[in-house]
Symmetry: none
DNA sequence: CACTTTTTGACACCAGATTGCCAAAGAATA
DNA sequence: TATTCTTTGGCAATCTGGTGTCAAAAAGTG
C-alpha cells in the first residue's frame, strides 16, 4: 500500500523569515493524490491547519450551504477569513504569513502532523502539551485502550 | 488563479496621524478587481469596515430602496453617515479620519482582515477578543466544525 | 560505508512598511 | 490683515520582512 494520505509526526524547524520545510513525503502525497502545489493555511484552536486546495474548497462549499447563524459567523471569523494560500519554494518550504505565525506562536521548533487529508502545524511546546493531556486522559480511562487491543 | 477577493489577516501599524498601510495584496485586488483607488470607511459594531466604492454604492442602493422606518434611520446614523471616502497616498496608506479612529480605538497596533468584498480594520485587542469569543462559540457548538470537516 | 535525498542555515536582493521631516494649507489669534 | 499655531499630506531615508539561491549538514538508502 503506497502512501495515500498524510500521516506521521515530524519535528521541523522554521527559519528566521518564517519558512517551514514540509516533509518530502507530504509533498509527494500532495502532488500525487491532490494534484496541487500549494496549501491553504489557517488558524485552528491551538495552532495552524493546512489543507490541500481541494479539501479547502470542499469545506468552503459545505460552509456556504450553511444557514446563517452566529455559529456560521464564528466559523468565518475564526477559520475562513484568516486563511491564506501558501506555495512551495524550490526547497519544499512554505512561507507562513506573519499574522498566522504570531497567533500560533511559531518561532523555531515546530511540529508537523499528518491528519489524513490535512496537516497540522504546531509550536513544539504546544504540541507537547496536548500530547501530554491526551496521555492523561487515556490513563484515566484505562479501559478504552485495552478494548482497542492496544 | 490570481487573487480574486480580500483574504487573510495582517498585523499593521497606524501612525500618530492616523495613517494605515493597507497590505499591498489588498491594493492589487482593489485595483484589478474593483477598479478603484479608494475605500469607503465606516463604523461597524466593534471596529471599522472599509468597502470598495462599488460595494459601498451597491449597499447604498439597497439602503435607498428600504421603506422609511426607525430601523432605517438607525442604519443611517450608525453606518451610513459616519462613512468617509479615503484615498491612498503614494505609499499605499489611507488616512483614517480622527472620529472613526477614536470610535474604533485605533492607536498603534491594528489588524486588517480580508472579508471577500470588504475589509475590516480592528484595534488589536478588540480583534483578539472577538476571535476568542468566536472560538468559545465554536467549542460550545462542537458538532459544527466536525460536520464541516475541519 | 558510499551515495542520494532532504533539511537547514546563510546570504544577498528586493519590495513593502515604517518613520521622521518638511512644506503647504487651514484655523485661530491679535 | 498679518502672525502664529496646528493639521495634513507628500517625500525621502531607513528598516524590516519576504524571496531566491547556494551550500553545508543531516537523514535516509542500498
Amino acid at each position: 500500500m503506497s502512501k495515500e494520505q498524510f500521516s506521521g509526526v515530524f519535528n521541523v524547524s522554521i527559519d528566521l523569515k518564517g519558512r517551514v520545510s514540509v516533509p518530502a513525503g507530504f509533498r509527494d502525497v500532495l502532488r500525487e493524490k491532490f494534484q496541487s502545489e500549494s496549501l491553504f493555511v489557517t488558524l485552528n484552536k491551538d495552532g495552524l491547519t493546512a489543507y490541500p486546495p481541494k479539501a479547502w474548497n470542499a469545506f468552503l462549499s459545505k460552509y456556504d450551504a450553511l444557514p446563517a447563524s452566529p455559529s456560521k459567523e464564528a466559523v468565518w471569523r475564526a477559520r475562513v477569513s484568516p486563511a491564506q494560500e501558501c506555495t512551495f519554494n524550490a526547497q519544499g518550504r512554505i512561507q507562513v504569513p506573519q499574522a498566522l505565525r504570531a497567533r500560533a506562536g511559531l518561532e523555531k521548533d515546530v511540529v508537523i502532523v499528518g491528519m489524513d487529508d490535512k496537516i497540522e502545524i504546531w509550536n513544539q511546546q504546544a504540541y507537547d502539551a496536548v500530547l501530554a493531556k491526551s496521555e492523561t486522559l487515556l490513563e484515566e480511562d484505562g479501559q478504552l485502550l485495552s478494548d482497542l487491543g492496544l
